[in-house]
């Protein structure tokens, strides 16, 4: 009896196998694990069950760097997937690879599916468009920086939990009070370069690099050693010396300190929301990223991080039709709204944002709308559209190294940023040479 059932199951699965092979397979390599990986798989499963022409196969290829390397190696071997998830700092590398990638707008146009570039939020897609505003890669997961506040910690220190923290000018007093009250970690941050230089520059409408932050060409040069950035890093350096700013690491190491309840204030990606919500044993709220009130242009808009999905070159036309259908599915308001609500990543279409609002999500989860508002409060300028710099992952490492010199008191803010600019420019020149 048992064997019979097993045989039946086997026959059934074989039949299923043949049916599946009649579909066109779309390979998608991504970098998500854990909860994000599950949510991604759920999207893929929904797409596969909604139609029968295509079957998307999602494969995890390691972290962002490893996924990019896997894609590059596969392309060299002629075994590339249709879709490759690449983090935002890899954008210039992918863009420069004419002949290895197919722009999203071309694939969408060729597919004949409805594709309205105006449906997407410009502050999000702007990072991934060409000079003519055409979408090159699909902004799959984008987040921006927000401020997380541990309300209990403020109250313990005798500070009103609703104290004004919207401008950096207001911070020194609050940090001093926290420190004097014996708080061991008044403020910490994750992704220091992203928060305190990249987005900081956009938010205050000052250039990070020449040539529209690299959008205008490979001959761009870093200029984030301007007076405003220097003053800001100098202030952070002083706070670090006084024990008011605690540096925990280059990536998101600080998240553990905040979620564990040690730190009062924390600047981090809006996508960190799910983690904070799940782990925090204290009352917290989410606020706008602070800005210097003395700067007239601030607050402009912050810039995004995260990853986009690139379409790889070298596949038959009918398979690209499947790719277009899948991206179309991902853009639908329902799928986008669910993704936004589950992960804390930004909605990429205006419709998805509105749907989330009408579903009452923002009212039920105060603070989750901040990231979107912060991105869309102004029309992006050439300083706040995003960054497009070659070897940018390496440039970030250089910035991390130099900032560590400031936090430990070995370097002045000016010397550190000057050095970071000089070293980073060398890498940009090499990138320019490689893509001549």
């Amino acid at each position: 009896m048992k064997i019979k059932t097993l045989n039946l199951a086997l026959v059934a699965s074989m039949a299923w196998g043949t049916a599946a092979s009649a579909q066109t397979e779309i390979q998608w390599w991504h970098a998500f694990t854990g909860r994000l990986g599950e949510l991604l798989d759920a999207q893929v499963a929904l797409f596969n069950s909604n139609q029968s022409d295509y079957k998307v196969v999602a494969t995890h290829k390691g972290n962002y760097s490893e996924t990019l390397n896997a894609g590059i190696a596969a392309f060299r071997a002629g075994e590339q997937p249709h879709l490759l998830q690449v983090f935002e700092v890899g954008t210039a590398t992918m863009m420069a690879a004419t002949g290895a990638i197919k722009p999203v707008f071309e694939v969408m146009q060729a597919s004949g599916l409805e594709f309205d570039p105006n449906a997407y939020i410009p502050a999000v897609t702007g990072y991934y468009t060409n000079a003519d505003g055409q979408m090159l890669s699909f902004p799959y997961n984008s987040s921006t920086q927000v401020l997380y506040v541990n309300r209990d910690k403020l109250a313990e220190a005798g500070i009103d939990p609703d104290v004004d923290l919207s401008t950096w000018e207001a911070w020194d007093g609050v940090l001093t009070q926290l420190k004097d009250a014996g708080v061991t970690c008044p403020y910490t941050t994750s992704w220091q370069s992203w928060v305190h230089l990249e987005s900081f520059s956009a938010y205050h409408d000052v250039p990070f690099a020449t040539k529209e932050n690299g959008f205008g060409g490979f001959d761009t040069e870093l200029v984030f050693n301007g007076p405003l950035q220097v003053a800001h890093i100098d202030q952070l350096g002083k706070w670090a010396q006084d024990g008011k700013f605690i540096y925990a690491g280059r990536r998101n190491e600080a998240g553990a300190n905040f979620r564990g309840g040690e730190c009062a204030l924390f600047t981090e990606s809006s996508a960190g929301y799910a983690g904070v919500k799940a782990e925090a044993q204290f009352a917290f709220d989410i606020r706008h990223l602070p800005y210097w009130d003395s700067v007239e242009a601030a607050p402009q808009n912050t810039i995004i991080g995260g990853a986009s999905v690139w379409i790889m070159e070298g596949k038959p036309a009918e398979e690209y039709a499947g790719v277009a259908a899948f991206l179309n599915f991902l853009s639908s308001p329902e799928v986008q709204a669910k993704w936004h609500q589950d992960t804390g990543y930004l909605p990429i279409t205006t419709a998805a944002g509105e749907l989330t609002k009408s579903q009452g999500f923002y009212a039920a989860n105060p603070g989750t709308e901040i990231a979107g508002l912060q991105m869309t409060r102004n029309t992006p300028t050439e300083n706040s559209k995003g960054l497009r710099l070659g070897s940018f992952d390496q440039v970030r490492t250089i910035i991390d190294e130099e900032l560590e010199g400031v936090w430990s008191g070995q370097k002045t803010a000016q010397a550190a940023l000057d050095s970071a600019v000089e070293r980073g420019n060398q890498l940009l020149r090499r990138f320019e040479q490689a893509n001549r």
């Binding site: 690879a97 280059r250 490492t397 560590e404 060398q426 990138f431």
Partner: protein, 293 residues
């Protein structure tokens, strides 16, 4: 007197050598040749276009003060790892050698850490010394010492040295113990009867007789510190703070696989190749002379 076997023809010896030569050619000479070839180009990551730059990559690297500083970092790091892992191993081996009861258990326990992969060892040490949640960091905090390898360069270097040496101690211990046990008891006993104390016996008999083992371990450990400690550094410090723990091989990785700068990465591999070759030649030329076989 060495014994020499003389073959009559050249066919048989050539045939016997062939497998070794083929393996060496495919797995060593071919990749090394590729690295040398690639080091003369600046390619884009996807291999779509490439430019010949001759020695340009080397010029770029050697003109970079941060790359030159990485040599010093590597020298300090490898020196420390070698001294710490060999020193501790020798000490433990001497203790184990004098042990009469339970030496088997003692030996087995000491060998265990060798089975732990460097990356895993890195994670273990990282957790113990994590500035916020680490057990050791917490106890140090109780003693009034503020451990912070995230910003303190000396502490970061110390931590990666200890984490890299830890697993290596087992390996060195095995060799030292075998070496010590190979020293004839009668020689040591004779010296003891003549009134030589432990330290004198060690200096005049044990250390010279142990020198082949020590020399072998020196070569092997330097190579280990140069190439195989990558996992530890990657998991604990990622080369920081600033560039305090960026050793040469870590830079090869980060430039090649994070920065996608394959030309520079290939050039760095070639430099490493030459460097380790030189080191080994120096070791054999100058140190081996003082080794008594």
């Amino acid at each position: 007197m060495e014994k020499r076997v003389i073959f009559k023809g050249w066919m048989l010896p050539a045939l016997l050598l062939l497998p070794q030569i083929v393996i060496t050619a495919i797995f060593f000479f071919y990749p090394a040749g590729q690295a040398i070839w690639q080091s003369m180009f600046v390619p884009d990551p996807f291999g779509l276009k490439t430019q010949f730059v001759g020695l340009g990559n080397f010029e770029y690297l050697l003109g970079d003060p941060y790359y030159r500083a990485s040599f010093v970092t590597t020298a300090i790091f490898s020196g420390l790892v070698t001294v710490v892992s060999m020193g501790v191993a020798l000490y433990l081996a001497i203790l184990a050698d004098r042990l009469i009861k339970g030496s088997g258990t003692y030996r087995t326990l000491l060998i265990w850490p060798y089975a732990v992969a460097p990356a895993v060892a890195g994670v273990l040490w990282m957790f113990m010394f994590n500035t916020r949640v680490g057990v050791v960091a917490w106890y140090l905090g109780l003693l009034g010492y503020d451990w912070n390898h995230v910003l303190n360069e000396a502490e970061a270097m110390g931590l990666v040295v200890v984490a890299s040496s830890w697993g290596r101690i087992s390996y060195n211990f095995l060799f030292f113990l075998a070496g010590l046990q190979a020293i004839p008891r009668s020689v040591i006993e004779a010296a003891a009867i003549d009134g030589a104390k432990f330290w004198t016996r060690f200096r005049t008999i044990v250390w010279p007789l142990l020198s082949p083992t020590t020399f072998f371990l020196l070569v092997v450990n330097v190579v280990y510190a140069f190439f195989e400690t990558f996992g530890v550094i990657h998991t604990i410090t990622a080369g920081g703070p600033q560039q305090a723990t960026t050793i040469l091989v870590y830079k090869v990785y980060s430039d090649g696989f994070v920065g996608q700068d394959l030309g520079s990465s290939a050039a760095q591999s070639v430099i490493l190749l030459v460097l380790v070759g030189l080191l080994t030649v120096i070791q054999f030329k100058f140190i081996e002379r003082r080794v008594h076989y």
